[in-house]
């Protein structure tokens, strides 16, 4: 069905179709619309989920963990400070190999108190063992949420997945949305280590170094295997519903001498900048990184690279730029832009590319 919806409503529509048994959530701007909508679905009887209103985000994730370990599908949503308040449980969810799906509406961290888009909240959870995807349109928010359940629950993955969408810029914008009938796209969940009273087992007991080390390696092995699962899931989604995105969405990169790399809505607006530059005769392309974890491999050889970080690691640099430097041995022009919802237009992005200084870092809108 073709309709028009906000990013938040698109996520809620996908979760309703994924039909989780348990939703535990705490409201926080700009995510609240998602959990309000889920609560409305449950109240109206359109969704048979058990909706657990909790007293904090830490409890929201704890409730999801408790439900998930019984082998049922679970969902929660949060943002910014709520995400960080969950941090301990976020680690637990991945370590316990629970395929929880969470929507995180990216928002800056206070103080100064700020409710607008930034990616530092999600980036601070990058080492927890969660898969993380960043979306750029209302349609993609819906599609990625449906795919997240299948990827998380795949037997070769069994790790939680975070679907990230930019606060307000995407969570509150209205765009067209085509919903699908998922059919059997998301198979029933079979959690091999689910609690089973017939076969009692210990959970969360003290684990010695030898076993702990194996568990950690097993997370990494599944993270590596998840690349294949993501590709298969994307392919099946494309075959059934006609839309695909890839690990990284490339735009006019075939003959590009310079590529701009960004995430979320900035990565989509960058495509407009590329069209502008192409008209000027500059062979530029855009790579919108979708998956922060597992981190993609990009074709950057022989190209100038401009990276826009909507995040920062103090005393180190833009997290995306540093990751690309480490992985691809490139010397990107590192642009720090869009923090706290700072307005960045396609004209600005075209300017970053025109005026690039490889190896340097530039804070947009700040006088040095």
């Amino acid at each position: 069905m073709l309709t028009i919806a906000t990013g938040n409503k698109a996520v809620a529509a996908a979760v309703r179709q994924a039909n989780p048994a348990v939703i535990a959530a705490y409201p926080i701007t700009p995510q609240t619309e998602i959990v309000e909508q889920m609560a409305e679905y449950v109240t109206a009887g359109e969704l048979k989920s058990r909706y657990i209103p909790v007293e904090s985000e830490h409890s929201a994730m704890a409730a999801c963990i408790g439900a998930s370990i019984t082998g049922v599908r679970t969902f929660t949503a949060t943002s910014s400070h709520g995400l960080l308040y969950m941090h301990e449980m976020i680690n637990w969810a991945a370590g316990a190999r629970l395929p929880i799906v969470m929507a995180n509406v990216n928002r800056a961290l206070g103080p100064g108190w700020n409710v607008w888009a930034e990616h530092t909240d999600a980036f601070q959870e990058r080492d927890t063992g969660w898969l993380q995807v960043f979306v750029s349109t209302v349609q993609e928010a819906y599609d990625a949420t449906l795919m997240a359940f299948r990827i998380a629950e795949h037997n070769d993955v069994l790790l939680p997945v975070m679907v990230n969408l930019d606060g307000f810029t995407l969570s509150h914008i209205m765009q067209s949305l085509e919903t699908v009938n998922p059919g059997d796209f998301i198979p029933p969940l079979h959690l091999p280590h689910a609690i089973d009273p017939a076969h009692p087992a210990g959970y969360g007991t003290l684990t010695g170094p030898d076993d702990y080390f194996k568990f950690r390696w097993d997370i990494e092995r599944s993270m590596r295997d998840s690349v294949k699962v993501i590709r298969e899931t994307e392919q099946d989604f494309a075959d059934r519903f006609g839309r695909s995105y890839g690990m990284t969405e490339e735009y006019r990169c075939e003959d590009a001498d310079v590529v701009v790399i960004a995430m979320g809505t900035l990565g989509k607006e960058a495509e407009v900048a590329i069209d502008l530059l192409r008209k000027e005769g500059i062979r530029a392309g855009s790579m919108r990184i979708r998956w922060l974890r597992p981190f993609p491999t990009l074709d950057l050889a022989g190209r100038d690279v401009v990276v826009i970080d909507r995040d920062y690691s103090f005393g180190f640099g833009g997290i995306l730029a540093q990751s690309l430097k480490a992985k691809h041995r490139c010397e990107p022009y590192s642009v720090i832009a869009g923090l706290g919802g700072q307005e960045v237009t396609y004209d600005d992005i075209a300017g970053f590319i025109r005026d690039r200084k490889p190896g340097e870092e530039y804070w947009f809108g700040v006088k040095a």
């Binding site: 028009i4 700009p30 409710v115 607008w116 930019d166 307000f168 810029t169 995407l170 509150h172 914008i173 209205m174 765009q175 067209s176 809505t265 900035l266 989509k268 607006e269 495509e271 407009v272 307005e343 960045v344 237009t345 396609y346």
Partner: protein, 175 residues
């Protein structure tokens, strides 16, 4: 791409007007995005929201700097905000007012949305509803079709007075 900036005060329904307009454009078969600019809003503060309409998918998320049309739901914001800022040459203005004339050479349309809302008794929490009648005015200007304006309003509001108010605004718009 056709870009519209809507000026209002917090609580007057400018954001909903943007959503209704995008929905109507979408029902016309166009691509449309509606994005409110969320600031430190409170009831009564000047606010803006944006609508983009195009024949192809819209990839722009930043604010509208050079609108093709400016809609002012509350002319009192014009004392504190330059509503014509960035308006394109040949750009148009729609004012919720009882009378007016072209503003700085821009073709200006006038319609008494407040009066229409009061006549239909479309009042919520003491404020007249402006966001449904304004769709009628926008249809008359040709931004959306009258049919899609009605469909859009009916999809979001069940009270038929909203459609009647839009019809009145369609009839009463003055160039």
């Amino acid at each position: 791409m056709f870009e519209i900036r809507i000026h209002s005060r917090g609580g007057q329904g400018g954001v909903t007007a943007a959503r209704l307009l995008a929905l109507a454009a979408f029902r016309d078969g166009k691509f449309a995005t509606a994005c409110p600019f969320y600031g430190a809003e409170r009831r009564g503060a000047p606010v803006v929201s944006f609508v983009r309409i195009d024949d192809k998918p819209i990839k722009v998320y930043s604010q509208i700097r050079t609108p093709d049309l400016v809609v002012v739901l509350d002319t009192s914001v014009m004392d504190v905000v330059d509503v014509l800022q960035g308006l394109k040459d040949g750009g148009k203005v729609l004012l919720n007012a009882t009378h007016g004339g072209d503003l700085k050479g821009h073709k200006t349309y006038v319609v008494d949305l407040t009066g229409i809302a009061l006549k239909q008794n479309l009042v919520v929490a003491g404020s007249p509803i402006l966001n449904t009648p304004v769709l009628g005015a926008l249809a008359k200007i040709g931004i959306i079709s009258p049919e899609s304006a009605k469909i859009s309003i009916s999809e979001m509001f069940s009270d038929e007075r909203n459609v009647r108010a839009a019809e009145a605004a369609y009839e009463e718009l003055v160039e």
